[in-house]
Subunit: 330 residues, 2 copies
C-alpha cells in the first residue's frame, strides 16, 4: 500500500474522503483549550517571523520592498502545507490538489480578532489572489478556504492562519448548496441568498450587524449555537470580485462579530468557511458567496453525525440579540 | 420567545435543525476521557437500578415476572428523554416527535462491549420493538437510533444507553442515502448495498469479520479512521424484520469489532447509527439497513464541517487488517 493521498467517493451518498496516511505525522501543539498567547508558545512556533525555515517555500507573500523570499520582512505568507492532504503531482488514483497554509501575520498573534482591520483586509485579499491563481489550473474545480481556531475546532497550530485546499472536485456540502440554490432559482426566478438577505433585513430579529456592503445574521437553522453568516447585501456569486474597500469593511465587521462572540459564548473554538462559486463558474445568477462562522458551542453526537440533524440550545433570535448587545460600536 | 422545541429547515441545503432551548439545562457528568467504570460513578448514576425515580416513567421494559413498572427488577428500560429535543404534543411550528433513552442494563456498565451477547441481543430487539411502536404514529416519518459512547462523541451520561429520536421528517443524511441508493437502482437494477457487500467479500481487503448473516467492513470512503459498517449479507430494507437469532449473531459481531477497535485505536469515543428505511416505507428494493460505527479518531475541522470532505490518516485497508489481527476469535 502506498502512502500517497487518495481521493475516494462514497458510492451511495457521494461524500468525499481524502485518505492521507502521511498527515498522521503532523505535530499537535494545542491541547483542549482555545489557544492562549504567550512568549513560550511563540518561541517554538513554526509560523512566527524568523522561523521561515520551518515551512516549505512560500508561494505568495506580502513583503517589504527588497526583502528576500523565505526570510524575514513579510507581513503575510502563503506556503504549501507541510503535511498535505493532497499532492500537486497527478498520479493515477492520487488525490490531485493543493493544500496551502496562509500565515496571517509575522507576530505571534493567536486571536484573529487581534489583527488590525487593514491587516485582516490583506488576508481577505490574499484569499482572492490564491483563488485567482488556482483558477488558472484547469484540473482544479474548487478551493475550500477556511480557518480553524482552537483545538476543539481542529487547529493544530495556535498562530493565526487560514487553510486553502484546492480540489479536483466540487465538495459535497458546496454541491448541495449549489443544487439547492439552483432549484430555488428555477422555482422563484431569483437568488435564494438575495431573498435571505432581504427577508432577514426586513425581519431584523436575526441581524447581528450591518455595514454598507455586508450583513451578519444568526443562521436561521444553525448547526451550532451562535452560528453567524456574513453575506454581501448585493448579489455576488464570486468572492474573487471583492474590491479592496469592501474587503476592509468585511474585515472590520468580522472583528466586531468575533469580539461579540468571544464575549457572549466564552471565547469558543470556531471555524469559518468561505463558500463561493466553483472555479471558472462565471457569474451564476443563483449563487451568492458568503462566510459561515461556526462556533463549536456543543459536541455533535449521533443525531448530527449519523442523520445530519442538529440540536441547538440557543434560539438564533436570542443569539442575535446577545451578540448585538455585545458588539463593539467600531 | 418560547422555550418549546422548534424544527427548522435551512432553505438552501435542506438541513434540519432542532432549536431546543430547554436542553441547555441537561447535566453533564462526563469530562473529556472515555467513561471509566467505578463505584463513585455508579453512586450518582441516574440510569442504575434503584434510581428509577431519576428518570421519567418507562415506556418499554424487560422485567422479571411480577416486578412493578418504574421500580427495580428490570434488565432493560426505555424512558422518555428528560431533556427532550422534541416534544410529543404537536403545536404550530413545534418540533413534533419523541426522544427516548434506552438504558441498556441495570448494572453500572459503561462499555457496551461488556454486555453479554444475550443482553446486547435484547437491546437490539428493543430497537426493533420501538421502531414498530413508532411506526403506528402516522405523524412520524423516521426514527434515528444511535449510541454515543464517550464525552468526545457527545455522551453526557456514562452508563451505557442508546437514544431513539422519532422525527416528523426523514433527516438529511438518511434522505441523501435513500436518494443515492434509488439512483443506483434506477441505473444498475440492483441494490447498491448488496453490490457493496458482494464486492467487499470478493475483494476481502476491507473485510473485518464475517458471520452467517452479517459482514463488518472498513468503510471505503470513511469520515474517521477505523470507521466500520455492519451490514446484513442478504438484501434487507427494514431493521424491524430482524429475527432474534440474527440479532444474537449481530450482538456477538459488534462485541468482537468493538473489542478490536478498543485494542487498535486506544478505546476511542465513538457513535453508532442504525440506518434503516423510513417508517412504513415497505420493502424497498433499493435500500438496505446497516449500522455505521464511527470512532472519533480525529477532530473534524473546516474542510469537514464547511465542505463535507473528510481527511483520514489511516487507509481503510490498513484499518481492516489491524482490526482483523485484534479480533477476538469468539
Amino acid at each position: 500500500m502506498s502512502d500517497e493521498p487518495e481521493l475516494r467517493r462514497d458510492p451511495v451518498t457521494g461524500r468525499w474522503a481524502v485518505v492521507a496516511p502521511a498527515r498522521a505525522a503532523r505535530p499537535h501543539e494545542l491541547g483542549d483549550a482555545r489557544p492562549r498567547c504567550g512568549p513560550a508558545a511563540a518561541l517554538a512556533c513554526p509560523f512566527c517571523e524568523g522561523a521561515e525555515h520551518d515551512t516549505p517555500h512560500e508561494v505568495y507573500a506580502l513583503r517589504a520592498a527588497g526583502s528576500a523570499p523565505n526570510g524575514p520582512g513579510w507581513r503575510l505568507r502563503v506556503v504549501p502545507n507541510k503535511f498535505p492532504a493532497l499532492q500537486t503531482l497527478a498520479k493515477p488514483q492520487a488525490a490531485y490538489g493543493c493544500a496551502e497554509v496562509l500565515i496571517d501575520c509575522p507576530e505571534h498573534v493567536e486571536n484573529p480578532a487581534d489583527l488590525s482591520d487593514a491587516h485582516q483586509r490583506d488576508v481577505l485579499c490574499a484569499y482572492r489572489a490564491r483563488l485567482a491563481a488556482h483558477a488558472a489550473d484547469p484540473r482544479l474545480a474548487h478551493v475550500a478556504v477556511f480557518k480553524n481556531v482552537g483545538a476543539e475546532a481542529g487547529a493544530s497550530i495556535a498562530h493565526t492562519h487560514s487553510q486553502l485546499i484546492a480540489l479536483p472536485v466540487v465538495p459535497g456540502l458546496l454541491q448541495a448548496e449549489l443544487s439547492g440554490a439552483e432549484a430555488h432559482f428555477a422555482r422563484a426566478g431569483h437568488c435564494v441568498f438575495c431573498e435571505l438577505v432581504e427577508r432577514e433585513r426586513t425581519d431584523g430579529t436575526r441581524v447581528v450587524a450591518e455595514t454598507a456592503y455586508f450583513v451578519a445574521v444568526a443562521a436561521y437553522a444553525p448547526r451550532f449555537a451562535y452560528e453567524v453568516w456574513l453575506l454581501p447585501k448585493e448579489h455576488a456569486p464570486c468572492y474573487e470580485a471583492i474590491a479592496d474597500g469592501a474587503a476592509l469593511e468585511l474585515a472590520g465587521l468580522m472583528r466586531r462579530v468575533l469580539r461579540a462572540l468571544d464575549a457572549v459564548a466564552g471565547a469558543p473554538a470556531y471555524n469559518w468557511f468561505l463558500h463561493t462559486s466553483p472555479l471558472r463558474a462565471g457569474d451564476l445568477p443563483h449563487y451568492h458567496w458568503h462566510i459561515e462562522l461556526m462556533p463549536r458551542t456543543a459536541r455533535p453526537a449521533g443525531l448530527e453525525w449519523g442523520f445530519g440533524a442538529h440540536i441547538v440550545t440557543v434560539a438564533p433570535e436570542r443569539a442575535a440579540s446577545a451578540l448585538r448587545a455585545a458588539l463593539p460600536a467600531q
